[in-house]
């Protein structure tokens, strides 16, 4: 790459902006500019290759699994890796239940932390909270799983079950909700708050009935995107909630199937019918995540803070 800077070379081509590239630049500089343009376009298309490839692979290998009614209504009970078919009902329910409990815990904590950061937080404590949210964003999911294992199972003597995973996923979901909610609360115009205070409304009521409703759409979007993130997590589930072939709707007792652990289980069985199920499960998981993402963006689109 040349180190020649623009101003040094600028004298000889101050005319004819229409032919900026070809007419008046020296050949080397024009060529570099063309190469850079080509490289940027190539970067984008290169980045699209894995996306298209993965989606193609998942669709071509897994789509036919989803068209059987048993996929959506039965579990893998009485199935072996030599038998084709069976369903993912147990794993879908496991993932949904776990995600529901995770969000019931994380959403209030995340929203209140964001309220603290935007509406109350000043000084050192607020800076520490903000820093810790950043650190929590970066905690690897396996470490979150290990931590819950160390607390919930080693120290408190609990068993591996669905709830333990929900706790680990909570650690991963809270920072996503805090960050998105924080951004949304900042978008609420100060005039609204001031108008409310001017009418003598107490601060908490201003937040609860003016600020939060105004930012509601954005908060929902953040929750949905956070949910999409934790639903695809596998690592904590491997430690905390071993896979089972059977339907278990009880988060507090026994092993539980989820879509990610089902993919992992089926792929280790290595025979064709199992691998096929593992692609089918992958497609199911992607579809659920995609629905959440699209829903989140639609909510964001239709309820922008005015």
């Amino acid at each position: 790459m040349s180190t020649v800077t623009a101003p040094a070379d600028a004298r000889d081509n101050s005319s004819t902006p229409a032919h900026l590239e070809l007419g008046s630049k020296s050949g080397g500089r024009a060529a570099k500019n063309t190469i850079a343009t080509i490289v940027m376009w190539a970067c984008f298309f290169l980045a699209m290759v894995p996306l298209v490839w993965i989606l193609y692979a998942v669709l071509s290998e897994g789509l036919h699994m989803l068209f059987t009614s048993s996929w959506w209504s039965t579990s893998q009970a009485n199935m072996t890796s030599r038998l084709s078919g069976g369903g993912a009902y147990h794993a879908i329910m496991g993932t949904l239940l776990m995600a529901a409990v995770t969000s019931i815990i994380s959403v209030p904590i995340g929203i209140f932390t964001a309220i603290y950061l935007v509406e109350y937080g000043r000084g050192t404590f607020a800076r520490v909270v903000s820093f810790m949210v950043d650190i929590l964003t970066g905690v690897p999911s396996i470490v979150a799983g290990l931590f819950i294992y160390a607390v919930f199972i080693t120290t408190l003597g609990g068993q591996r079950n669905g709830f333990a995973s929900s706790l680990a996923l909570m650690l991963l979901m809270i920072p996503v909700i805090v960050r998105s909610t924080e951004e949304m609360l900042k978008l609420v115009p100060n005039e609204l708050r001031e108008a409310s205070y001017a009418l003598g409304v107490p601060k908490w009521k201003t937040i609860a009935s003016v600020v939060l409703p105004t930012a509601f759409g954005g908060i929902v979007t953040g929750v949905l995107l956070g949910l999409a993130r934790v639903m695809g997590e596998t690592a904590p589930l491997l430690i905390l909630t071993p896979y089972t072939k059977f339907i278990n709707m009880n988060l507090f007792n026994g092993y539980m199937a989820t879509l990610p652990t089902m993919i992992n289980q089926e792929r280790t069985e290595a025979l064709a019918p199992a691998i096929e199920r593992s692609w089918g499960t992958a497609l199911t998981l992607i579809l659920i995540i995609l629905v959440l993402n699209v829903a989140g963006r639609l909510v964001a689109h239709f309820s922008k803070v005015k």
Partner: protein
């Protein structure tokens, strides 16, 4: 659509970002005097401060708990924890060390960064400077879609498609034959050729794809904030578009790119399940080698691989110690990212 994959909106808040939105609220809330402070306010403040404190407590507890339960195991360890590559955690004479895991974790993440940073910056420049306006939004959404693919699907695809593609493409063999004199690209001990589809090199490439959306999203955000006056100034001086980018956009966006790379690095270091599926674990007796053309285990993948073995506190302690090292590693990397962002006030807050 203002929300990127990282949940950070691209639009600047309409209020002055340096002024907390709640500043105006100070006077009325405090003005009533402590005696007439309303119960609702106290409860709300309590809940908010409590949630903030809970977040601090959680991060602190992660470190404390991992440390507390790792210490007994480390005390019984008969090998050097930092320099040994052994991993025998059962029995009365445990010998375990993190050297090989540390190498596999760091080398795969570095490969990921070397690929993802230039590519991510290129994509971000494309999205902000080159793409026609009608393409910018949909193209950015497509790149964000890469972040929505769960890591286990990357693992599945990497193990069943991408790994074989790289193996058969001859990239590994080419690097090995040209740069084989560097230990990193050497032929691994115990084999004569570079013909594996489950190597550190391949997981490095898959990790690169996985962190690409993070790097792209953040870089795009800073590039888009380049002052128009800088860009127009460069163009008015006769710079070509590329020279304008090199002299105005890239210098302006540098801190953003650095912190984006750090966040990507943090993600790559901690990635578990894609590594678990794609990279083959080595036999415990495998000799030490720097080669990236063989299998291995990262901190995360070894922990996940052996999750079924957590039956005694002693065994679990060894894995918790490995987890603690990983936590510290990502903590440092993320803290650096944060500091770089903080220094550049034009970015986020």
């Amino acid at each position: 659509m203002t929300t990127s994959s990282t949940g950070v909106p691209n639009t600047e808040p309409p209020v002055d970002p340096n002024v907390r939105a709640g500043d105006a609220a100070q006077t009325p809330a405090a003005g009533g005097g402590s005696g007439s402070r309303r119960a609702g306010d106290t409860i709300f403040l309590g809940l908010s401060v409590g949630s903030g404190a809970l977040v601090i407590a959680l991060v602190t507890l992660i470190g404390v708990f991992l440390l507390m339960q790792a210490i007994p195991a480390l005390a019984r360890n008969e090998a050097n924890f930092l320099t040994s590559s052994e991993w025998t955690v059962a029995g009365d004479h445990p010998r375990f060390g993190i050297a090989s895991m540390l190498w596999v974790t760091v080398s795969s993440s570095i490969i990921a960064l070397l690929v993802a940073v230039p590519l991510g910056v290129g994509v971000a420049l494309f999205l902000t400077q080159y793409a026609p306006p009608w393409l910018q939004q949909p193209a950015a959404a497509l790149v964000d879609l890469l972040a929505a693919v769960p890591s286990i699907v990357y693992g599945l695809w990497g193990a069943l498609y991408f790994g074989f593609f790289i193996r058969d493409s001859g990239i590994q063999q080419g690097l090995n034959s040209v740069l084989g004199w560097i230990p990193i690209f050497a032929t691994p001990p115990g084999s004569t050729t570079v013909s594996s589809a489950s190597t550190i090199f391949i997981i490095g490439l898959v990790l690169a794809i996985m962190i690409l959306p993070i790097i792209t999203a953040l870089s795009r955000e800073v590039f888009a904030q380049t002052p128009v006056t800088h860009k127009e100034g460069a163009l008015a001086l006769g710079a070509t578009k590329w020279e304008m980018i090199k002299t105005a956009v890239l210098p302006f966006g540098k801190p953003g790119v650095i912190s984006a790379s750090m966040l990507g690095l943090g993600r790559a270091l901690g990635e578990t399940v894609a590594v678990l599926i794609i990279v083959s674990a080595l036999a415990p007796s495998a000799p030490w080698s720097f080669s990236v053309f063989r299998g291995g285990e990262t901190f995360a993948s070894r922990i996940a691989n052996n999750a079924g073995e957590f039956d005694t506190p002693a065994k679990t302690g060894a894995y918790l110690a490995a987890g603690l090292v990983l936590f510290l590693l990502t903590f440092v990397v993320n803290a650096i990212a944060r500091v770089v962002i903080e220094r550049r006030k034009a970015f986020t807050e």
